[in-house]
């Protein structure tokens, strides 16, 4: 148990140490992450050995905070830990010479710790807390380089979106606890009937908000203003993953109806954001859109009833996407921008980086025998095997095709163009992170068997879907490489570029009400609460004025007053005594 706890305490300790010493933040953060990954690995080994821990910490009365370490959580913990340590390594290079490194690494450690908490949380209260803190951490990190213009608004936007979706989680938790009487997650799985359905839908809302699913996908692209390590972390294993993780962990709770909605939402997201990705003119925004679409795949797998497949894709995607972001970060540092117009040809000047990027990209596009191949294959198979294959399968295939398309497009845009090699600071660390992530992206796929064995859920596999899916992927690659976005999408592109914002998009639904509410709260605070307080203060001051009159400064008078008070006290006591007799 203590080892499992270390996965949380390691980063936390790093955070505290960083804030205390305010120097060598990178080293401390790396140390914390190292502790995290080692303890997570040890935990996983033990769990694989058949051990299951769970601990109840004193929490709310009647609702102790539980920590559960079972195969699923152990796997997730390792996933998060590995990604976080590699991203940290990468960040050391990326942040070299940048300002506010203490702030940065402190926040990153905090982020990692909270994510671990969320992963191993055994009851809703703790999970809720971790969920909120992750939102906070991501807000802080997205707004990290606050001196830049759009950062603040982007951070606020992300925060608002996720918070709005979080309401779903709150309501869901209330429903579940009130129905089942316990706050233990596994204890609430028994809830059935309409309550379960409502809870499922609400959980889906929360998850959609965090995982940037349609219609809440808009914030993710804006969140790209964050430093690249943050985005890598955010997309691969933490904030965005939280949504999928939530659904994976609560899969037993989801009734078939909910599952259908989940699957449809995932499929739609996979396609829609895939189109957005194809349309994007900015590398990081493209990757962001692809993130949404990949998580759409996971939800699709969930909806098809195969959480293992979703988990598998989550792991694979974590490796691939963080590798891609790492590469993009290097390009960004090289050219000082992430829009394709500036990045043209930056692939040539760094063949090694470009190779790694390409490998990760192809993995994402499900080219055998890379990681994405196995995972996406599993998902397509899942869609095929599920009861709603007729609707889910086309969506999955379309998504796969689009994936190939935008990967190929990104590669082409990076490759075309003249090369101008400028040195990049901290290249060694960045390269270390990128390389190891890429290696992961290559080999994670082969863990399929082990994974399904570990969590005891089978990961589907179908010859037909394998053939079709791979074909779709290659077709997509071909299209993406040969045709430009306009040719591919035509009129659709304009709409796709601004993320299908119908009628002002979700901003109208989320941002404006939220801001109005905030305004109302502010007014209530200033008029109401402050008014009361000021009234109290004034009253106290007037009273003081009155009492001051009593104070003549003549000692004997005041002594007399004191004596009188004492007499009163005595009388009171005497009366009390009499009553007592």
């Amino acid at each position: 148990m203590t080892v499992a706890a270390l996965t949380i305490l390691g980063p936390l300790a790093a955070l505290v140490a960083i804030l205390l010493f305010r120097r060598a933040p990178a080293a401390l953060a790396l140390l914390g992450a190292g502790v995290e990954v080692v303890s997570a690995a040890v935990t996983l080994v033990r769990v694989a050995g058949g051990a299951n821990f769970s601990a109840a910490l004193p929490g709310l009365p009647g609702f102790p905070l539980r920590i559960v370490v079972e195969p699923l959580t152990a796997v997730l913990a390792v996933l998060v830990a590995v990604v976080s340590v590699l991203v940290m390594v990468y960040a050391v290079g990326y942040m070299e010479g940048a300002r506010g490194r203490v702030r940065f690494f402190a926040k990153m450690s905090f982020f990692a710790a909270m994510m671990q908490t969320l992963v191993v949380a055994g009851d809703w209260v703790l999970l809720l807390a971790a969920w909120e803190l992750i939102g906070l951490a991501s807000y802080l990190l997205i707004g990290f380089s606050h001196e830049k213009g759009r950062t603040g608004s982007a951070a606020t936007r992300a925060f608002l979106y996720t918070r709005t979706a979080d309401l779903g989680l709150y309501v869901a938790v209330f429903v579940l606890i009130s129905r089942s009487g316990t706050s233990e997650i596994s204890g609430t799985f028994g809830v059935g009937g309409p309550a379960a359905f409502a809870a499922g839908i609400l959980l889906l809302l929360a998850a959609a908000g965090k995982s940037a699913q349609v219609p809440l996908q808009g914030w993710l692209q804006d969140a790209m203003v964050a430093p690249t390590p943050v985005t890598a972390f955010l997309h691969s294993a933490t904030l965005v993953a939280a949504g999928a993780i939530l659904l994976i962990r609560t899969f037993p709770l989801l009734s078939p109806g909910v599952l259908l909605v989940v699957g449809l939402l995932g499929g739609v997201t996979a396609v829609a954001t895939g189109v957005t990705a194809v349309a994007e003119r900015d590398l990081k925004r493209l990757l962001a859109a692809s993130t949404s679409s990949q998580y759409g795949f996971m939800l699709l797998a969930l909806g098809a009833g195969f959480p293992a497949a979703a988990l598998f894709h989550l792991a694979a995607h974590a490796a691939m996407k963080s590798a891609l972001f790492a590469g993009s970060g290097i390009f960004q540092r090289a050219r000082g921008s992430t829009s394709f117009s500036d990045l043209g040809g930056s692939g040539r000047e760094r063949p090694l980086v470009f190779t790694a990027f390409t490998v990760a990209g192809l993995a994402l596009a499900a080219v055998p025998p890379l990681a994405g191949y196995f995972s996406k294959d599993a998902i397509v198979a899942a869609a095929y095997e599920s009861g709603y294959g007729f609707v889910l399968l086309p969506l999955a295939l379309a998504g796969a095709l689009l994936t190939g398309a935008y990967v190929a497009r990104a590669l082409r845009l990076l490759w075309r163009g003249e090369k101008r090699a400028e040195p990049v600071a901290g290249m060694r660390w960045m390269w270390a992170g990128l390389a190891s992530l890429t290696v992961l992206a290559v080999f994670v796929g082969f863990l399929k068997g082990a994974l399904s064995g570990l969590i005891g859920e089978e990961i589907p596999d179908e010859l037909v879907t394998t053939v079709v899916g791979t074909a779709a992927a290659f077709l997509g690659l071909f299209l993406g490489w040969t045709f430009t976005a306009d040719r591919l999408l035509g009129p659709l592109r304009a709409a796709a570029e601004n993320g299908f914002r119908l009628a002002g998009g979700v901003d109208a639904l989320v941002a404006k009400p939220a801001l109005a509410l905030a305004e109302a709260v502010r007014v209530a605070d200033e008029r109401g609460i402050d008014g009361v307080i000021f009234a109290l203060v004034r009253g106290a001051r007037d009273l003081g004025e009155r009492v001051r009159a009593l104070q003549s400064g003549l000692v004997h008078r005041e002594l007399a007053l004191a004596a009188g008070g004492m007499a009163l006290l005595l009388v009171f006591l005497a009366v009390e005594a009499m009553r007592g007799l």
Binding site: R557, A560, A563, A567
Partner: protein, 165 residues
């Protein structure tokens, strides 16, 4: 009985000197009268088989009251209390308060139902036990008192010292 007698005797002495404190017109006399009143109180302690406290009281009050006398003289410049100035005010109120307070206390002490009288302990045992109490259970209180006295000394000196500018 003898104990009651001696206690009462010293009590009367204390009261007598206490009255003298406010009857004389001489600062030093009232200070010394107060001293002897307090010393009589210490004697009462002794009569009540509370040896350590009694001796301590007698010892401390000597210094305290002598110092009081010197400050008195310093402030008043009153040679032997020969200046026949009246130094009292709000007499009626004060007398009333004094009588009321004293009467109330007397009434309480006479009417109050005090439990049974416990046995006394040997002086040596007392001193030892008091030492245990001081450096054991009540250590914090004791130390706090000490620190407070030190602080008060320093603060008083700081207040009283002449401003040099």
């Amino acid at each position: 009985m003898a104990q009651a007698f001696f206690t009462g005797f010293f009590g009367l002495a204390a009261i007598w000197f206490g009255v003298v404190v406010f009857r004389t017109s001489s600062m030093v006399r009232s200070a010394l009268a107060l001293l002897f009143s307090q010393a009589a109180i210490g004697a009462m302690f002794l009569a009540m088989q509370t040896e350590f406290l009694g001796v301590l009281q007698i010892m401390m009050m000597a210094t305290e009251m002598a110092i009081m006398a010197i400050f008195m003289v310093m402030y008043m410049m009153d040679p032997g209390g020969l200046g026949g100035m009246d130094m009292t005010h709000q007499k009626r109120l004060s007398i009333a308060a004094g009588i009321f307070g004293g009467a109330a206390a007397v009434a309480v002490s006479l009417l109050g139902g005090w439990g049974t009288v416990g046995p006394s302990t040997m002086p040596e045992a007392q001193v030892a036990a008091l030492g245990e109490e001081l450096l054991g259970r009540s250590m914090l209180v004791f130390e706090t008192a000490g620190i407070t006295i030190l602080t008060a000394m320093i603060a008083a000196t700081a207040v009283a010292i002449e401003r040099r500018r």
